[in-house]
Assembly symmetry: C2
């Protein structure tokens, strides 16, 4: 089976100037990967007619498919139609279907067709329209030098709908022996990509060539993707997904073949299942855990209140930490976070809590408790657990990682898991014997 | 003055797969822009020796400067040195200076030189080393077909140091009539790019061609950049920066020629100046304001405690909102946020507070208070102000924008400004007459 060569051409001065970061090509790569396709080469140029025309001509001679992104807008900087026309050695003219769609688009919004809008209907002779469901700029396509060229809008949500509904079906239909691919994603927290790769290659040395294995690294979670390209391999896929799930154990927090869930969504679902409410008492994360939970719609059902107790006095006033505990063990101690969590539960009348206190840095560390030290308490009033970890990294990364660990510990508590997460094995600060 | 043609070549399978978003090229564009330079064209390919070699050869024939990013690591996927050697028609050999630097790097860390590390010292014959101050992979440079080629590491912080300390000085020194360019950035909150552009073009129709005007859009703040390319234009630059500052008024929250500050840093600096502490009582932002403040090192000096009062009972229990206020006016009302802010000040013993309560959506809206409605209270115990705004957008954008507005209102309070911010003019929900 000949490998299809797909190239991207991105255009826009703001891309070249670095004023926007290109997230469209990551989206395009993922959309294509869902069908087992990949991008061979990507070229980015500014809004320059000569450069654009040269690139289109050159790429059309070597690629099977060219996706051009950007330059469809109404301003003079938007040059894709003109450049494509020059590459095709033709002129631009008003495209009647584009005009009809645009008129309908304006009508729906009670807006007048402006001259700027009309520019968007001036397309190279002979191109076909690719419908833009939500924006004013129509997409269009043609074949040049045997290469199928799709011109797509730079606005991410317009691009996404156009790819999913118009372009991917066309590309998939044109593939030899087109098959519906099927990807299952396993979402993992607490293990890195290389760690997972090692785990899998040593335990599953016989990975079948009918399935592809991919990773998508991210903070805080990571995705392992198992793709089957033919329907007849779906059973095999299930078998291998189960093998992987077993190896990942409790590090696997969700597995899906549709929309993935975040760690906080999984925690909220578990809370909802049990009818529990959660509260937070945060020192070093300063509200980040609460804000991650409340970024999810409907969080209010199971999260009623949270405390940011940054200063020692706040720990006493807001969540009833004893002054003697602070004096004896310090703000960053398992004793203090335990009292913070219990105090939060009692003040907020919640069922479970997580409390964190640590040294985010860059200042504030000591020999005994260096920057990166964090104490966490999690659980219920009758079953409150504590731990001390050492988390490297700068302030913002430390805060993000600690917030994710806090959520993961609550998830494990709610699921009553008994295994030890890797971040504990690797980062726990062992307790010294406190008194002889 | 001939325009220097600079091109980028980025390499990495993870870039092509969209598993990481390319932020390096935005950084490179900004670093070059500081010296008035721009990137003409950017090509991205996966870890493929043939493709890489072809690109290097082709680009070297048309560009003055080529920056290659990525592919310097220790694994078999890292192919930059090999590809450059093939383009140069030479072989790779152990580079003695690279070996010395790498040995020192290992020694510092008490680590052994591994075979994988040693691969990083195998470079094309005749290249010069570009020092990597913090990583194991040395950069290197050469001249091919009249094009100066710099090979740089993909790890962002290694790239940044190498660009600032090694590569930019070399590029600037090679420029004809090299001049120190000078950029002044004005940081703005509450006005959009098109709004500012209109304001400037209608009030400063005579923009001088010696200065360039740029924008860097972002959430929540926006940067207006005024660059002078020659020392003799610095006076003119000052004049125009002052004109712009006057037009922006209190929307300008900071102006700098060095590192920009975030809105929360400006607020923390103002609090420190006055010796005040701030507290937060957050409903719809769920801890986001607190977490933005505490993301700044040293925040603990002026921020001791915050409250996340998501449920009505929490508003009563944590910050003493009256049950009758909630019953009479609802959780999303100026009366409630005022009591939240006053309660937070009293419980946390703070000097100033900001409180927010709103409908983040997608559910929970009503005809009277649609999704996007938010009430904010800000000020001190003796001078507490309130407002109701209607902020469009999805849940996460709503939360971010509300958090930024809350910070900006505190900034304006601390600076005792008297002007009305644009977001109030445009988004205020006017109070109805409450009783007849």
């Amino acid at each position: 089976m000949k490998k299809i060569s797909i190239q991207l051409l991105l255009t826009g001065d703001e891309l070249m100037a670095g004023d926007i970061v290109d997230s469209n090509s990551a989206f395009l790569a993922h959309a294509l990967a869902e069908s087992g396709l990949s991008i061979a080469r990507k070229v980015t140029v500014g809004d320059d007619l000569t450069l654009l025309t040269e690139e289109i001509s050159a790429i059309s001679k070597s690629a099977d498919i060219l996706i051009i992104n950007g330059g469809l807008g109404p301003t003079v900087d938007d040059l894709t139609a003109q450049a494509l026309a020059q590459s095709m050695d033709t002129s631009i003219e008003q495209h009647s279907e584009a005009l009809t769609q645009l008129s309908q688009w304006c009508e729906k919004r009670g807006a007048q067709l402006s001259p700027a809008n009309l520019k968007q209907t001036m397309l190279p002779k002979g191109v076909d329209i690719v419908k833009n469901e939500i924006g004013s700029a129509p997409g269009f396509m043609t074949v040049l030098n045997g290469c199928t060229i799709f011109c797509t809008p730079g606005v991410p949500r317009e691009l996404k709908l156009m790819m999913h509904h118009q372009i991917m079906p066309q590309i998939v239909a044109s593939l030899p022996q087109a098959q519906k691919t099927n990807t299952i994603r396993l979402q993992v927290f607490g293990m890195g990509e290389s760690q997972i790769q090692e785990l899998l290659s040593s335990n599953i040395p016989d990975w079948p060539e009918q399935l592809s294995l991919g990773f998508r690294a991210g903070l805080p979670s990571l995705e392992v993707k198992v793709t089957a390209y033919r329907e007849q391999d779906n059973q095999l896929q299930q078998t291998y997904v189960k093998k992987i799930a077993q190896l990942l154990g409790d590090h696997l927090f969700n597995y899906v073949d549709e929309k993935p869930l975040s760690l906080q969504e999984v925690v909220l679902n578990l809370l909802a299942d049990k009818g529990y409410t959660l509260t937070t008492a945060e020192s070093c994360t300063g509200g980040l855990i609460a804000s991650q939970i409340t970024s999810i719609a409907g969080a209010s059902q199971n999260f009623h209140a949270g405390f940011v107790t940054y200063a020692n006095e706040s720990k006493q006033q807001l969540v009833n930490v004893n002054a003697t505990t602070l004096a004896e063990y310090g703000a960053v101690s398992e004793q203090t976070v335990k009292e913070m969590a219990l105090g939060a539960i009692s003040t907020a009348k919640a069922d479970v809590a997580v409390a964190v206190s640590g040294i985010a840095g860059p200042d504030g560390g000591s020999e005994e408790k260096p920057v990166g030290t964090v104490c966490i308490a999690w659980g219920s009033a009758s079953d409150m657990r504590t731990i001390t970890l050492l988390i490297p990294g700068n302030r913002v990364l430390f805060q993000k990682y600690v917030a994710s660990i806090a959520l993961d510990l609550i998830r494990r508590f709610l699921r009553a898991t008994t295994s030890t997460p890797t971040y504990v094995t690797q980062r726990q600060v062992k307790k010294e014997v406190e008194s002889l």
